[in-house]
Each structure stands twice: as C-alpha cells, then as structure tokens.
Symmetry: C2
Subunit: 219 residues, 2 copies
C-alpha cells in the first residue's frame, strides 16, 4: 500500500467504489470480479489484480464483500472524509460547478469562490458569496482549503494555479483549455472539454476519409 | 495517413494546433519543435515523430511553417469545418455548455437541446429553445446533427446515448458520471468531473499517509 498506484488504476478503483456503494445501498453483500469489471470497463483478472493490492476481500467462489471492500477503497482514495474546495472564476462553467450538487454529495465541498469581475464580487452564486481575488491567499489559509478549481480564461490560468499552490492547496483541478504541469509541486488535473470534442472530431473526419476512400475503390 | 492515430497522439495534435493558431494570429511564420513540445507537455523528438506522419513541414534548422502545418492539422482533426452538435439534459452542466462560447468558437455549434422536464421545454437557454426528448430522433435527422452531448443523470445516460446513436450521430461526449463504451458502434468520450476530483483526492490522501509514516519513523 506504499508507493503510487497508476492513474488508470486509481480511475478503476473509483469506478469499483461507485458500484460497491450502489450495491451497499441496495443491501447486496457480495459481488463478483466479473460484475465489478463490467462497471469499470476492465477484465475480471484486472479487478482481482487491482484489489489484491489492498488485502483479501474475496470469498472463494462467492465474490467480494461489498461493505468491507467499500470502506477500504474509500480509505485508499481519501473519500471517507470531505475535502474543502475553492473555485476561482465564476463564469458559466464555474457557476455550474458551484451548483453541481454531485460535488458535495461525493465529498467535495466548495467553501469559497473568487472572481476579478467587480459585477460578480459580493453577489451570491448558489448560496456562496463571490470574493475578490485579493482575498484568495488569506481565505484559503483561514478555511484550510485543500483543493483548488481553476475555471478562468486560459491566459490567467497558470498564474491563478500558482496563487492557489502558494496559498497552500494540495491539488488543483483545471478547466481552462491549457495544459498545466504540476505547479510548484502541486499536482494538476485538466478537464479540457474542447480537447475531448476535438478527439471526437478526429474520429468523425477519419471515418469520412475511410468512407470516401472505400467509395473511390468501389467506383 | 490511413489507419488510426492513438488517442494521446490526437490530443497532442490538438495542442500543437492551438499553439499554431495563436502564433498565426500574431503573425509568426516559423516555430521550432521545442516550442511546440513545451505547449503540449511533450518532447521535441515526439513532436517531430508526430508531425512526420503528415508530410514534411520542417525547414532544416529553421522550424515548421506555421500556416501550412496549421491547415494540415485542421484537416486531420476535422476542424476546417463546423460540426453540428445536439445536447441532451439542460441541467446546470448542460446549460453551462449551451452558454460556453468556446464551443462555437472552436467549431462545435450546438443546434438543438433536449430535456424531459416540462418546466424547461419551450424555454430558451442562451437563445436555444429546449425541445422535448420525443423530438430527438426527428430533429437530429432534420438538422444533420453529427455529435451528441449527454448531460443527463447517470441512470438514463446509456438510453439517451443509444437514442442519439440510433438517430444518426457519429460521436458522443458524455458528462454523466458513468462509463459508457461505444454505443451501437458510436464512439463515446466521457468527461467525469467527480472521477478527476477522486484522482486528486487519492494523491492528497497518499501524501498524508506518507507524511504520517515519515513522522512515525522520525519519532
């Protein structure tokens, strides 16, 4: 349990945990590696390998114990507690995140929001007062914020991420369409919606090129 | 140029293209593989390898020609045209996407939006009328929609994705927190915000375990 697990393994653990929580709510006590695999888009062998890292939860021929495995994964993923989150940039995406109930339900409570726009500062968005960016460092220290969300235009995203890191957050989620490596040693994950769409656009364009080529061959 | 490029290579091409467009707007005509690498979080060698797939754009010792390379990448990625997009689920995230100007600016025009909520149907969200889900198939065919966005609760996401696929979209972007494989042969990309936060939560929890372990050893 020491050492880092790969990003893709962490992703699978999150997906296993979602299924386990659903099963637990439904009163189901045992689950097979095959069922867990299906939810996470993995193989049964991969599930067994992933879970063997954290001890033995399988009952031979019967499956994994939903409750204990669920608790262990919550511990590994740091989800047995609530994390305090601050958001910078209350534009369309930022405001939607403030109203996104799933975040708090899943253990991520947004406790502060910041913007530079004088028209937004002092207003309440889904109950949270928008604070001026000048208050960022003090507020983050006072509220012991652990995760920062960057939802600013790309031009200022790196500066904002650095300010968050210097104020003491331990991890950053970036929605600005720009790649940010770790900032001052703080890990950054980027959710880049346009990049995802461009990946799909590539697939559509490639499919058309293939269709056109096939037609030319046929004709 | 036949055959598929890997997802990660497509991602890098998108990032190179962003930089090339910025440079083009600034009137810059040549760019080095090192500069392109920096923007995409890659190495110069990786850039040269990626771009060698599509012909020769380098001038020995001087760099790549910004204009021609930009046009070629736009063609490869299918970004020299606008794609017609339909969105299902006008909740907080869905509404934010309708108002997200970057989408249209980058070539993804949302032309239809659907919901099941009678209170939303018929209203306009950022200028677009919300249509009932019953109109989905006909509207998508009539408007020649090519990309579907699923922004529904997870319980209905797969059914909605299937309806989009059957109506004729060629690719789907899913924001519901559930893994969807290809649906009826249509590729699906998932943007899972909670999963990204859980990945960061894992890193924070792992860092704390390490810090605690170090303290115990020290004491």
């Amino acid at each position: 349990m020491s050492g880092r697990i790969s990003d893709s393994a962490v992703r699978r653990l999150s997906l296993y945990l979602r299924m386990l929580r659903d099963l637990d709510r439904s009163g189901v006590e045992l689950v097979s590696s095959r069922e867990l695999a299906e939810r996470a888009g993995a193989t049964s062998a991969q599930v067994r390998k992933d879970l063997s890292l954290f001890g033995s939860f399988g009952k031979r021929g019967r499956g994994y114990e939903v409750g204990p495995l669920s608790e262990t994964l919550e511990g590994i993923l740091g989800l047995s507690r609530e994390w305090r989150v601050a958001l910078v940039g209350v534009g369309k995406i930022g405001a939607a995140l403030l109203g996104y109930r799933d975040l708090r339900d899943r253990g991520f409570g947004v406790v502060a929001a910041f913007d530079v726009d004088a028209g937004k500062i002092g207003t309440r968005v889904f109950g949270l007062e928008v604070l001026p960016l000048d208050d960022l460092e003090r507020t983050i220290r006072d509220l012991h914020v652990e995760i920062g969300i960057v939802a600013t235009p790309p031009e200022v995203a790196e500066d904002v991420a650095r300010a968050l890191a210097q104020a003491g957050v331990g991890a950053i989620l970036n929605f600005a369409p720009i790649e940010l490596g770790p900032v001052d040693g703080v890990p950054v994950s980027t959710v880049d919606i346009v990049l995802e769409l461009e990946g799909l656009s590539y697939l559509l364009a490639a499919a058309r090129r293939n269709a056109d080529a096939a037609e030319e061959e046929g004709g």
